[in-house]
């Protein structure tokens, strides 16, 4: 299979005031790849994902989605972002699933999945509803479409959020600690959905603290700490046989089940 970069970041840097959160991060995700990002809190994982999802702006670096250049360094090494059209187009290339779901509480489950299709992508309403129902069925939520998020369990809410992100037909799905707000049972239920997506070769970038899951599902894994990529490689290799002391110390906090 031809592998093609869906998203690539080169020399990404980001600081909040004097606090350098990302120091020269480069990564490439090819079509069909699953990339897991692990590491301690405050290590820059979420900021990295948020920069790629355009919720934060990079101070420096090049970011592209396929052939679409979102930002590139100018002569002084500062990231210059594309115009409104570029940003709007980039947003159709990825979807983001949040730790806290961030569903729209006043919308039904089906509206949550279809509203952006209708009012952002201007898809005809019946087409959008059909697509929404199909996705909800895939997430095992076919019977929940007219409920509101507050009547669902956390796991169900997160699956709605995944359906909402999938509805936009993105090239890549980003997950920011998708199970950190869930108990172990609900975590399993959400991870199963993500495993199914991986089996269908959905391109994904997953920030997670679930090491067993990362090892089994991800092709590639990045361990981040202190704003740098400390170690990366095949997920199995890094988790089963970490090379750096820092990675080893971090992983020793987990049972390698």
């Amino acid at each position: 299979m031809e592998s093609k970069a869906v998203v690539s970041l080169t020399n990404g840097k980001k600081a909040f005031g004097a606090n350098e959160v990302l120091k020269d991060i480069s990564l490439t995700v090819n079509a069909g790849d699953v990339l897991a990002i692990i590491g301690p809190s405050g290590g820059g994982k979420s900021t990295l994902l948020r920069c790629m999802a355009l919720l934060e702006t990079l101070d420096s670096g090049d970011l592209s989605y396929g052939d679409l250049v979102v930002c590139a360094n100018n002569g002084e090494g500062r990231a210059v972002y594309g115009g409104k059209d570029v940003i709007a187009q980039a947003k159709t290339r990825f979807g983001l699933v949040f730790q806290n779901f961030n569903l729209f509480p006043h919308y039904t489950v089906l509206q949550n999945v279809t509203d952006a299709l209708i009012c952002v992508q201007k898809m005809p309403k019946d087409e959008a509803l059909a697509r929404g129902r199909e996705l909800l069925a895939r997430m095992g939520l076919a019977d929940k479409e007219s409920m509101v998020p507050c009547d669902l369990s956390g796991g169900q809410q997160q699956r709605v959020a995944i359906a909402r992100a999938m509805a936009m037909n993105p090239d890549v799905l980003f997950f920011d600690e998708p199970t950190s707000a869930l108990d172990p049972e609900l975590t399993r239920e959400v991870l199963k959905v993500i495993r199914d997506l991986a089996a269908e070769h959905m391109t994904m970038v997953i920030v997670t603290h679930e090491m067993g899951f990362a090892r089994d599902v991800a092709d590639h894994l990045i361990f981040m700490d202190g704003g740098v990529i400390v170690e990366q490689g095949s997920a199995h290799e890094v988790i089963n046989n970490p090379q750096h002391d820092r990675t080893r110390a971090f992983l020793s906090n987990y049972d390698r089940d």
């Binding site: 709007a88 961030n102 952002v120 936009m168």
Partner: protein
Amino acid sequence: MEFSVMMGILMEGFALTAEIFVITLVGSLPLGVVVALARMSKFKPLAWLAQLYISILRGTPLMLQLMAIMFGPYYLFGLSMGSDWKFWACAIGFILNYAAYFAEIYRSGIQSIPRGQYEAAEVLGYTKAQTFMKIVLPQVIKRILPAMGNEIITLVKDTSLAFVLGIAEMFSAAKALAAREVSMIPYAIAALIYWVFCLLIEFILNRVEKRLDYYHD
């Protein structure tokens, strides 16, 4: 004077009271959103201007504001306004004043919406306007309804301030009747009518609150 005649005069006044009430809401509910957004603007001069506006309109008596608008055009510019002016001066005064209070209530509601709602909308590609109208405002309305109810009920009774402009709303009518009849009865009836009107509004607000009860955050 027969009771029915007295009631007729009071009800005529009440029609004006209700008119001021409705016009004030129609004007100030949307204007309040605009002021609230200006108050939260990242463009500082606009935010300061909105803050000054709110401060002045909340910090001076509504009665004085009504008089300033009524007589301002003549004393400042020598303009003589038509006979309709006092009603419109009253409407403008009420709208500007209530918009200031509503703006602060909207602001409290808007600021209570979690950051994640904006981020989710942003990632999905909603424009700023769509995010506000479709995602934020509907949730804000549910959250601020009790506080808005308070202000709306207060407005019912504040309409009586229109009497300073010589507008024959219900309070002015009651005052005139009381003077002519040398009796407190007209005031008592007016009080009863205000209260019944407020009961009606409470009923409507409760219905709206129930309708928005289909979800909680």
